[in-house]
Symmetry: C2
Subunit: 348 residues, 2 copies
């Protein structure tokens, strides 16, 4: 590989801030620029990455708004966006990284990325038994979100009745399997027959239902949880949260991981049933995986080991080529992905 | 006192279920019956009480609805209602209670009560330094609610910014004083100038404001908490909760003690700002003091000792005579009470 010459570098850029509604494919744009495949002279500490897999995550929508008060700063219009990825080092001025190393962490949505700040990158050892792309899914941020949320926020006990919305998604599918391994009774909801089939027949959920076919979510939850819900792993918000509140058991826990149905609305739907928090002494807790990073090694060991033993599966929705990224990302907000949405930018 | 003859017994009865709106004075009715001032023959285990003080508590409204699925069963229409009180034993077939004993616990809203189930009654030792009526306030359920909610739910730390709504009420006034003793910065809101003055000038709150004079609750909270809120002790719900959610700090805690503005509405107002639970990793937890009864002895010691040292005050709103009870109870829902609302049924 000639590190001296410039090559083409396809990039995905944010055309403009998205301040209302869900992201559309046309809010993102493909651009072709040039890049020299080497890092700046000695002392820069930079590394040059060839990106292999990029992760499409709903939280990225928060970075597409002109809002600077959140825990994470927004993208800049006309600039390449960034997200979690799996990449290969092709040139390095950093003592901890050498060409040929595989890394996982925040990288650009482009074919090659020159990274100056390497502190959020993690070197990974390719493992013949685990797909490399799992480092942005099962073993990455979504998997760790499931792990931290379930074990650290839900206070699970054997026999608990666990309900998961968006259950076939990148996070939900692992929460359900961890809950099953923990001895819980697990029901998930999703938005298509195909997803419901995966939950019941592939991922081992006790029950699953298509929320789009339920005109009365309260009645649906009463059908699946005649004894009520101990743990609700909340991914969607809105009417589903209101229905879950009605069906929680005394001392129930609600881990608030996402509210994907609401975060695109400039005025989110009102939640009416919070009085249940008092009468049933419910704990409702929002969380971000980044508060639990000290548990990351324990998580990796637990999940990788269970995966290798065949006790955990992980469903990916793999799109080919950076060109497919804008549509794949927008598809998240319409439930088009079946499992964890990943873009394969290049074959290793 | 002639224990043989029948005497008049004034009672407050629930006329009908209140299924919509706040309780009105006319939902309760005074009735005069007769009672024999002695317990049934040997073996009944019953005790006969002369009621001295009765407590008006907002939670009682929940027992006035035709709803049987809650943690506490409803009152019966045309029957005497019950609530926390301080009473004197005048006749007893129970080995643990003898005439002349003072007790606190659930009793009837009437002059004399024949109690068969004594397991929820607590014998109290009159203390010259503490008013007897405080056993339904500072040292009773409201005081214990404040104690359990603040120490067990709020996870307070020295220096925390604490906000309390309905801050001059039976619970809020003690929460604020406990928080001050803990080294927190404490702001309360209430619904009149008189109450705000009490909070600032008598109870030692750092700041207080009249929420009825604020057209923009979010702006009001930003004014009093430029750094944000660590702990919100939630007594009112509705718009105030939505405004507080906007002003919580990262890892903030919301103890949900009451939602008095909402519990009278058949369709409570929607809460729109729950996305803040995620971005700020907020824990929002409903609680009832009855889950913490093992801490009651420790609470009594802590609060009584601080009261005797002059480090805690307690403001009561004392009404004279059972006749005043219906109006006093209804007044709770319009903020008419200044401090803990108590009815003096009889002078000891």
């Amino acid at each position: 590989m000639a590190a001296e010459a410039e090559v083409e570098n396809k990039q995905v850029i944010l055309k403009h801030y998205i301040n209302d509604g869900v992201p559309k494919q046309t809010d993102l744009e493909l651009r072709v620029t040039k890049i020299e495949l080497k890092v700046p002279p000695k002392g820069s500490g930079a590394i040059l990455l060839k990106n292999l897999y990029l992760s499409c995550d709903p939280y990225m929508h928060r970075r597409m708004r002109d809002f600077h008060g959140s825990y994470i700063h927004p993208f800049l219009p006309s600039q390449v966006i960034e997200g979690f990825g799996v990449s290969k080092v092709i040139h390095s001025d950093h003592p901890n990284f050498k060409p040929g190393d595989f890394i996982s962490g925040l990288t650009g949505w482009e074919e090659y990325s020159l990274i100056h700040k390497t502190d959020k990158l993690r070197k990974i050892e390719p493992d013949d038994d685990i797909p490399l792309s799992f480092n942005v899914g099962l073993l990455g941020m979504p998997g760790f979100t499931a792990y931290a949320g379930f074990y650290e926020v839900c206070s699970p006990r054997k026999g608990d009745y666990v309900y998961i919305s968006a259950a076939s998604g990148a996070v939900g599918q692992l929460v359900g399997q961890l809950a099953k391994l923990h001895g819980c009774y697990v029901v998930g909801s999703a938005g298509s027959k195909e997803k419901v089939d995966i939950l019941k027949n592939k991922l081992g959920f006790d029950e699953a239902f298509n929320y789009k076919e339920e005109s009365d979510l309260d009645a649906a939850l009463k059908r699946y949880f005649p004894e009520g819900i101990d743990i609700y792993f909340e991914n969607v918000g809105g009417d589903m949260l209101d229905a879950a509140l009605l069906n929680m058991r005394v001392h129930g826990r609600i881990a608030v991981c996402g509210m994907v149905s609401q975060q695109s609305l400039s005025s989110p739907k009102g939640i009416h049933n919070l009085l249940n928090l008092i009468t049933k002494r419910i704990r409702m807790q929002g969380f971000l995986q980044s508060d639990y990073l000290h548990l990351y090694p324990r998580f990796l060991e637990h999940v990788a080991s269970n995966y290798k033993q065949g006790k955990i599966l992980y469903v990916e929705d793999m799109n080919e080529g950076l060109e497919s990224a804008p549509a794949a990302f927008a598809g998240l907000f319409h439930g088009k992905n079946v499992g964890k949405q990943v873009i394969r930018v290049a074959h290793d």
